[in-house]
Structure formats: C-alpha cells, structure tokens
Amino acid sequence: MSGERTAIVERGSRTSIVVRGDARDVRFVRAMAAATGLEPPVAPGTTAHHLLDAVLWLGPDEWLVVSETQPGHALASRMQQALQGLHAAVIDVSDARVVYAVTGAHARDVLAKGCALDLHPRAFSLGQCASSLLAEVPVLIHQRSAEPCFELYVARSVGEYVRAWLRAAVREHLHASGGSSP
C-alpha cells in the first residue's frame, strides 16, 4: 500500500455512450475500433483504454464508452455512423450519471463500508470494472490506477446522496498518514 492520502474527488459528468452489439461479429468490432479507437472487451469486468478514453464491459453484449476529451454528441454520432446497418444500438447517456473518484491508501476501506465486492488486488485489479451496489444504490466501479484510484459512476439523481455517504465514509481516514489502519 502506498502512503497516498485518501480522498474523494468529484469528477462531474463525463461523456458516456452505451453501445449494444454482437462482439462475435467482426464488422461490429471493426466499426467500434474505427469510431472509438478501441475494441470492446469480451471478458466480463474488463476494460479497454487509450489515453483518456475507455470502453467498459457492462454485459455480454453491452459496453459503456467513456471519454474525457470528446463531447458526447460528437462521439455518439460518429459511433452511430460507423455502426450503421449493423444490429447494434448507440445511446448517449452522458447526462445520466456523475463520476466520483475514491483515491489513496484507504480507498478500499472506504468502499468496503457499503459495497460487497471484493476489491482486493488479487480479486479486482487495475483496469477492471464491475456493476454492483454501493450504499444500496447501483454503481459502476472502475479501477483507474494502482494508486489505487476507483472511479464510481452513479445516477445523477442519487449523486448528492453518494457524495454525502462517501464524505462520511472517508472522514476517519482524512487525517491518517495512510500507512496503517487505526
């Protein structure tokens, strides 16, 4: 474990596009690669990323394309064009969710207070993602860095609740140096 200070960071809304299609269809995979620069990952709970763009696995035929550099409508229309004629769906959900990041040495302890997922490095590694529940509300968790940094995608309607919950959960770790648990 590093000695990084544990913190909650609000990252606001983010370009997020839900795409559904058949990853066994090579035309779908090629079109996705052409539009996003990334191939949809097939293994459950995995992601593909390039710089500030990523494709997160949501289900066997469903992915979330996220970007910190491209506006949602531009990316969505480019994907729509690339996937034209294929049995696929593209939905811009950028405004539906907000993103919070939990970082630092005690990030796993904070999340463990409200999430049953095993986020230990041996079970959940860098680049993995999972949909689950955090403090009773649906969340998509993505480990962005080994620091560790976990990004949480939650519905905007429960964003304030999740923020308050995270602030309370992190309080005991705010002034700790980070190395050892109290």
Binding site: P44, G45, L58, G59, E62, A116, S131, S132, L133
Partner: protein, 94 residues
C-alpha cells in the same frame, strides 16, 4: 444471504439479483383457446417443491442478464446455474 454465481460476473451477493420465479413455464401459444382453469393454472399454479427448484434470476445490479438457477429450497444450496433456453439439469448430474 445467498451467494449467487452469475454466469458472467461470478459469485455476487443476493442483493444484486432479482428472482423471476419458477423457470421452464411455457406460455400457451393460443391463450384464447384455454378455459379459465387452464389459464389460471398457467398464471398462478407453481410446483413450489421442497428440495430442487429451477428458478429464473436476473443480475439486476450487475450485467442485467437473465439465467436459470437450480436451488435446493431446503438447504439453500445453489446446485448449478445455466442459460435461459437450456434444459434443466437432471438429478444426479452434479
């Protein structure tokens, strides 16, 4: 609390799932041809076994996929999970 092995996501807490009731109930092709008793039987009558029970579950807060679960209603042990559309495993298969 059950630990349910989602065919895609692996073992997850029961709280992430929703049970869809008994599996392998076939919707009548021509409901208008049924009398009230047969229609009522399709709608409401379930085997409700003590022991092995095939159920439909959906991973609501995970991958949102439906699948079948073979569960023992006495021991709460989950014997196996299998795809929607597949035939239920027979006793002694596990």
């Amino acid at each position: 609390m059950l630990l349910i092995p989602c065919p895609w996501c692996g073992p997850r807490d029961e709280t992430e799932f929703t049970c869809g009731g008994e599996a392998h109930i076939v919707t009548p092709r021509a409901p208008e041809d049924l009398d009230d008793e047969a229609w009522g039987e399709f709608l409401y009558l379930r085997t409700n076994p003590k022991g092995r029970c095939a159920e439909r579950w959906v991973h609501t807060h995970g991958c949102r996929r439906w699948f079948n679960v073979l569960r023992d209603t006495v021991t709460e042990r989950i014997l196996t999970v299998y795809e929607v559309g597949a035939r239920p495993p027979q006793a002694g298969d596990d």
